[in-house]
């Protein structure tokens, strides 16, 4: 008898899959998640350090929006992250786990720097920039294409393959710097700093405007490409099921290779932007981990180019905010604390996706009573 009761015993909590949620509801859940995460994160800091939550939120906001320059830097940083996120997305949508964006951007940057180093100011600025761009695109495409070729031909594991290519790219950069800087300091000073050949110009007096504008154009193109083009459709079919794709006559190998090359070429463009638009030089850390952060941005936005705008703004806000916390002399905080808050917020956002997809049901009271009576 008692066994039977246990069998029909409903658990305290059970989870069911939701039907598609109205868009505003799902966004409400996400916003609530961010606010809740800020509260938990700042309360945590408050308990540990005694710095009030208001002070922390204020400092983080000032870090990104405090001055006009800060807003520009914030938008520039977000744009760079967004660009790389867009670059990895077509491959991701196809379930090709490209973890090599860091190396693909870096090798693109190296191609640009190589052009600047050897061309110097022999050609006009525009021609130099175009040659650099072409070189970067080819370099990024090759770097990703090698992994894509092996995947299409022999079904090698692209995650490990692309990951390892990152380290090859870094070593190549180190090798080139060693060759170009005979003093052994391992620091390559910005190239052509007097003539500014191969430098993207300031627009409306703004150094970073062109970088931001180019990434926004890429965003729109990527949105249209994935959403409305035949290629975009093929990518999603291959991502859903390779067999289905084969059945409806899609050349899977061709799609994999093509998409990975596009992904790498875009990374190459971002590498070009790092060199022509920002650093005019290179070091092994030029990409600064953005190649990996981009994976998170792409996932958070569910591979949707326009949501990636929001996601990269958010991640950059958190990164800059955590730096601002560490740099505020009156707070006496370490940069690790900002990273903890960032971690909590991202955890909450990922967690909120669970509540958007699933419904949590609590055991109903009357049933409990019914069980008791039985």
């Amino acid at each position: 008898m008692s066994n039977q009761i246990k069998a029909s015993h409903e658990p305290l909590i059970h989870v069911t899959k939701r039907d598609a949620m109205v868009w505003w509801k799902s966004w409400l859940i996400r916003i609530i998640a961010v606010i809740a995460a800020m509260m938990v994160g700042t309360a945590f800091t408050w308990i540990l350090t005694g710095v009030s939550p208001i002070e922390i939120v204020k400092t983080m906001f000032e870090g990104s929006f405090g001055t006009e320059r800060k807003i520009w830097i914030f938008l520039k940083d977000s744009a760079m992250l967004l660009g790389i996120s867009l670059a990895v997305t077509p491959a991701f949508k196809m379930r090709f786990w490209n973890t090599g964006a860091e190396g693909q951007v870096l090798i693109g940057a190296l191609a640009s720097v190589t052009c600047m180093f050897y061309l110097g100011d022999k050609l006009s600025n525009v021609v130099t920039l175009l040659i650099m761009l072409a070189a970067s695109i080819v370099a990024g495409a090759i770097w990703a294409g090698v992994a894509g070729f092996f995947k299409a031909k022999w079904n090698t594991n692209e995650t490990l393959f692309t990951l390892m290519m990152n380290y090859v790219a870094m070593q190549l950069v180190a090798f080139c710097i060693m060759k170009w800087v005979p003093s052994g300091s391992m620091v390559l000073s910005p190239l052509n700093s007097t003539t500014q050949t191969g430098w993207l110009p300031s627009v409306f007096g703004q150094k970073y405007l062109l970088n931001i504008a180019i990434v926004l154009v890429i965003t729109v193109i990527m949105f249209v490409y994935l959403k409305f083009s035949k290629h975009g459709y093929e990518i999603s079919v291959v991502g859903e099921s390779e067999n289905t794709a084969r059945y409806i006559g899609i050349n899977v190998k061709k799609v994999i290779l093509r998409t990975v090359i596009i992904s790498g070429a875009l990374c190459g463009i971002m590498g070009w932007l790092y060199v022509a638009g920002l650093d005019h030089s290179i070091e092994t850390g030029t990409v600064g981990g953005n190649g990996f952060t981009a994976i998170m941005v792409s996932w958070l936005a569910k591979f949707h180019p326009l949501f990636m705008v929001v996601a990269s703004l958010l991640i950059c806000f958190l990164q800059i905010g955590s730096g601002a916390l560490a740099s505020n002399p009156s707070l006496k905080l370490n940069s690790s604390l900002g990273d903890i808050i960032t971690g909590i917020i991202i955890l909450f956002i990922i967690g909120s996706e669970f509540f958007i997809r699933y419904k949590v049901n609590f055991r109903k009271k009357h049933k409990e009573e019914a069980n008791k009576n039985a």
Binding site: R69, K70, I73, A174, V181, P190, V203, L278, G288, L306
Partner: protein, 409 residues
């Protein structure tokens, strides 16, 4: 459908906001240039490559705090920016410090130089100072300055402590005179490192004639595992004493493990190796920070030298506390004498009568002082190689690989 419209709207707002900011920029830019003359609201900003977990950066931070206390500045007047990479992010950080009202900005890493210079050109009313750099004395921009210390003298003094330890080991019969091999863990094959290792070796050999040295590079300024491995490799190849020019605890800890005496750099490592750490040489940046803050505060920022090099006399070069439990008898007295000689200017580290290159005494050496990768300045005169000379530049340019007695492992 509504989802799509929402997203498109968002994108449109982004684009518009970009241009809106671009439009309003020109009017606001000039307003920030006016301030900075008054001394009451004086502010100094520091740009650090890492945070306090790096011994290199911590050495600068400690000095900045000391200068702050000595000159009575409040916490609000001293701004730290940590974890600033050697890229355009360094330029951004410098500009932000200007926006926050800094009259003086200091950056601590070699790779920051070009970006600090870029900011210095843009903000002529703010003083920019940079450690370890090489270009200020060539560029001659009134508000851009380099600094270093004659740390090679400190290395030489630390080398004396090492040499005396070797002598003690020989006298005790632990090693023969020929086995007095020093191991040196270097970061990069770079003048700063080569100058440091050579002066350390010359210090050791000034007391222990049979000493030789093997060098191994890690190709990184900070890598605990690599520095540890390099130290162990040197020990395994027969080195009986280790020193290093790299910023982690990798080598000192490996030495403590193998019970091999160690001479360190920038921080005292006695707590890491109580039975093996002898002494460290270090640069104390407090005197320079005091100088640049005082000059800038009194409105004489342009009087800061283009290129400043502090030594024992200025208090810029120091040795840390001697670990008497490990050091040989009489070490302290020998160190004191050498320091006194350096202060008096009677002792020269790179005395050409004390070392040879390929068996020959140097009479001329063209060093690359202006930083174009080709030697152009003869720096040997009056019987010594004039490192970090006043009329040249502070960052080391002794890059002879190697003087006789030193070899790569």
């Amino acid at each position: 459908m509504s989802k799509k419209i929402y997203a498109l709207l968002l994108a449109a707002v982004m684009v518009l906001s970009v241009f809106a900011f671009a439009g309003c920029n020109e009017t606001t830019e000039n307003s920030s240039e006016a301030g900075g003359e008054e001394t009451n609201d004086f502010k100094v900003g520091f740009i650090f490559l890492h945070d306090e977990n790096s011994t290199y950066d911590k050495n600068f931070m400690d000095a900045a705090r000391e200068a702050q206390t000595a000159l009575g500045l409040t916490d609000e007047q001293v701004i730290f920016k940590v974890n600033i990479p050697e890229s355009s992010a360094c330029y951004d950080a410098a500009c932000e410090l200007v926006d926050e009202g800094c009259d003086l900005i200091f950056a601590d890493s070699f790779g920051h130089e070009a970006f600090i210079f870029q900011a210095a050109q843009e903000f002529p009313e703010v003083q920019f100072c940079h450690a370890t750099g090489t270009s200020a004395h060539v560029k001659k921009l009134a508000n851009f300055h380099n600094a270093f210390a004659s740390i090679y003298e400190g290395r030489y003094v630390a080398g004396i402590a090492a040499g005396m330890k070797l002598n003690e080991m020989i006298a005790a019969g632990k090693i023969t005179a020929e086995q007095a091999v020093i191991g040196y863990v270097g970061a990069f094959d770079y003048a700063e490192v080569v100058s440091g290792m050579t002066s350390f070796f010359l210090g050791a050999r000034s007391v222990c004639e049979s000493a030789t040295m093997k060098v191994k590079y890690t190709n990184s300024w900070f890598d605990i595992a690599l520095e540890r491995e390099a130290a162990l490799a040197l020990i395994d190849s027969g080195c009986v004493l280790i020193s290093q020019h790299a910023d982690s605890e990798g080598a000192p800890k490996a030495c403590e493990e193998r019970k091999i005496p160690n001479v360190a750099y920038n921080i005292s490592t006695i707590s890491m190796g109580p039975t093996t750490a002898i002494i460290s040489s270090k640069i104390d940046w407090t005197p320079y920070f005091k100088l640049i803050i005082e000059k800038t505060k009194s409105g004489k920022g342009n009087e800061i030298p283009f290129d400043w090099c502090g030594g024992f006399n200025e208090g810029s070069v120091k040795v840390t506390e001697l670990n008497t439990a490990v050091a040989a008898e009489g070490t302290q007295a020998a160190l004191d004498k050498a320091i006194a000689d350096f202060k008096a200017g009677t002792l020269k580290v790179f005395d050409t009568s004390k070392f040879t290159v390929n068996g020959e005494t140097l009479t001329e050496y063209l060093a690359d002082v202006d930083g174009d990768f080709t030697g152009e300045t003869n720096v040997i005169h009056d019987g010594f190689f004039d490192e970090s000379a006043k009329d040249q530049r502070s960052a080391p340019y002794f890059d002879i690989k190697y003087i006789d007695g030193i070899s790569a492992l």
